[in-house]
């Protein structure tokens, strides 16, 4: 291209044949940008809403888990307390039973201290084993009868008390069921 044939710049600007195209491209770009912005805004809003919902859900789950955990802990505490209460009651019943044994042993010893009681007890033992049986005193009080063939009858205080308590309605002492 030579300088004599060139079109002056002002004329080109005044009659740009591509201007409608440029305008159209510009409008389309604007519309695309608007659409992209709207999409981005919608997407942001959706994501924010989803995040909020998810946060609320997580919060609810955490709250429910916390409540369940608290209930579980409470149930465990209650079970522990019940177990402990039961242990205390049983231990108290055991103590009462042992006191009863001691009192019964003392009462039997007192009875055996009466003049004719040991002889009567001995007679009962001999009646079980035969007249050849010999009577030996027992360390806890009372006697033990031994027959020549080795058979024995225990009439000690311990045995008499154990036998008597075996037939007692022990539950009635502390149970109102």
């Amino acid at each position: 291209m030579t300088a004599s044939t060139a079109t002056p710049p002002g004329e080109i600007r005044a009659a740009n044949p591509l201007e409608p195209l440029e305008q159209a491209l510009l409008r389309r770009a604007q519309a695309d940008a608007d659409a992209a912005r709207a999409d981005a805004e919608l997407s942001a809003r959706t994501q924010t809403d989803a995040a909020r919902a998810q946060a609320a859900e997580v919060l609810d789950q955490a709250r429910a888990a916390g409540e369940a955990d608290a209930e579980r802990r409470q149930a465990l505490d209650q079970a522990r307390a019940r177990r402990e209460a039961r242990r205390i009651v049983l231990a108290a019943e055991r103590t009462a039973y042992e006191q009863l044994c001691t009192a019964a042993r003392a009462a039997v010893l007192e009875l055996l201290a009466e003049p004719d009681r040991p002889a009567r007890l001995g007679a009962l033992v001999v009646a079980r084993l035969g007249t050849e049986a010999r009577l030996e005193p027992h360390p806890s009080g009372g006697v033990v009868g031994v027959a020549p063939d080795g058979r024995r009858v225990d009439a000690s205080v311990d045995a008499l008390v154990a036998h008597a308590l075996d037939r007692l309605d022990l539950a009635a002492l502390w149970d109102d069921r």
Binding site: R86, A91, R94, D149, R151, R152, V153, L168, D169, L170
Partner: protein
């Protein structure tokens, strides 16, 4: 006062000690199965031991010592015979107590003594005096309450296999069961269980025990076998009194009866008895019946005795003598399977192999809920069809099934997920269970629900589509 009672003769003529057996000579009027007390002479602090007479021949008696014969010496051992088979004290004093398999407390409390005693062998119920079952015992476990309802006075065993959670299920049943608003209690006899299992059962039942509604007998695997034979008898003797004299509804859970049968086999071998199938004694059937038949209800007497024995089938073999003979005596069974267990479902009940023969007497209108029996029948029918479809799908593939068949597959999955699967500490009311049944049935189209009345279908509208 009888001098025989107060002054029992002790025999010092112990001739021989063989394993848990003790041979005593010079005895008079000693009978078979008589209870005995064994003591070491001159050992004040040593606790008494106990035994059962296994064999008598002239003046010789063979005694099996419950606590074992460790430390016993022939010259220093004496044996006193009770003059009768074992008797146990009976009464409400047992409630809230934890004992070993011989009925001796292990909870730190005093011994259980009472004015009344009863022989552990029990006395058979007159069949003419039995009252037909009519009311349910609700376990709070959906699979059982919905499909194999336990009924007062029934004997309904749980058939299981090693590795399945049968003890957990038994403990859950014991912890949760109720029978209306009437007085209810549980006697749980654990036999041959490990120490951790015994601890777990005890912990699970703590609440019921503290409420005075439980008697717990724990015979562990390392306890003498002869004690294991006594444990269910003591449990049932205590339960009979609570049921028929104290007028409570009593549930007796016996776990595990296979351990019991093995103990019976060991004792039979010690007695030199002729072995039967798999070396169990020939009288295994009648022996099991003598335990299971102690349950029931009596005409004119309030209270009932319901038994749930748990037994493990060695190798999962349902034809093994213990489940086989149990099945002849009991009224149905709850079968646990490893297939269902492998899918993570608890309790792993196989509903199609399980059955409560008395369910129709204890469920339905006026007993549980009027739609109960129809719903149960429909669920079982649909599960049976689903199983056929599963087998078909294995051959042709799921994709080749028609739409209805595919719905049956979905139904089976929903059944396990919504109804059968349940937490070990979860207790469901009957209404909740039945509502879950209806929820499972919504998977199927109405045309498939042919066993349900229109009235019930109308009461449970189905989702659109």
């Amino acid at each position: 006062m009888s001098t025989t009672d107060w002054f029992p003769v002790r025999y010092a003529g112990v001739r021989d000690l063989r394993g848990p057996l003790l041979v005593v000579r010079g005895v008079e009027r000693v009978g078979w199965d008589e209870f005995a007390v064994v003591r070491i002479v001159g050992s004040a602090g040593e606790p008494e031991r106990h035994g059962l007479v296994l064999e008598v021949d002239h003046d010789l008696a063979v005694v099996q010592v419950l606590e074992g014969t460790d430390g016993l010496v022939p010259g220093r051992t004496e044996v006193a015979f009770a003059g009768a088979p074992l008797r146990v004290p009976i009464g409400p004093g047992w409630l809230g107590r934890v004992c070993n398999g011989r009925g001796e407390p292990v909870d730190g409390g005093p011994p259980i003594v009472a004015t009344r005693t009863a022989p552990v062998a029990g006395s058979p119920l007159n069949p003419v005096h039995r009252r037909p079952p009519a009311e349910p015992v609700l376990t709070g476990i959906s699979a059982i309450d919905a499909l194999m309802t336990l009924v007062r006075g029934q004997k309904l065993p749980i058939f299981s296999a090693a590795g399945l959670p049968h003890l957990e299920l038994a403990a859950q049943i014991a912890a949760q069961s109720t029978s209306g608003d009437e007085p209810f209690c549980v006697v749980f006899a654990a036999m041959g269980v490990t120490h951790p299992d015994a601890d777990a059962v005890r912990a699970r039942l703590e609440e019921r025990s503290a409420a005075g509604e439980l008697v717990l007998l724990l015979n562990t695997a390392d306890d003498p076998v002869i004690e294991r034979i006594l444990t269910p008898r003591i449990a049932l003797t205590v339960a009979e009194d609570l049921a028929f004299e104290q007028h409570r509804h009593v549930l007796v859970v016996l776990a595990d009866m296979t351990s019991y049968a093995e103990a019976l086999r060991e004792v039979a071998a010690a007695r030199g008895e002729m072995p039967g199938r798999r070396a169990y004694p020939g009288y295994l059937y009648s022996d099991l019946a003598s335990l299971y038949e102690r349950c029931g209800q009596i005409r004119g007497v309030a209270g009932s005795l319901t038994v749930v024995p748990v037994l493990t089938m060695p190798g999962g073999d349902i034809t093994h003598p213990v489940p086989d003979l149990t099945g002849y005596i009991t009224e149905g069974q709850i079968v646990l399977t490893s297939d269902v267990h492998a899918r993570g479902i608890y309790p792993p009940v196989d509903p199609l192999s399980s059955l409560s023969r008395l369910m129709r007497s204890g469920a339905g209108a006026g007993r549980t809920r009027e739609d109960h029996l129809e719903v149960a029948a429909q669920l079982l029918a649909a599960l049976a069809r689903a199983r056929q479809v599963q087998q078909l799908a294995e051959i042709v593939g799921e994709a080749a099934l028609n739409g209805t068949d595919q719905l049956y597959l979905e139904f089976a999955t929903t059944f396990e997920r919504v109804l059968a699967d349940q937490g070990q500490g979860e207790r469901r009311t009957l209404d909740e269970t039945l509502e879950r049944c209806w929820q499972v049935l919504t998977v199927l189209p109405a045309r498939e629900l042919t066993m349900l009345s229109r009235r019930f279908l109308a009461q449970h509208p189905r989702p659109e589509g």
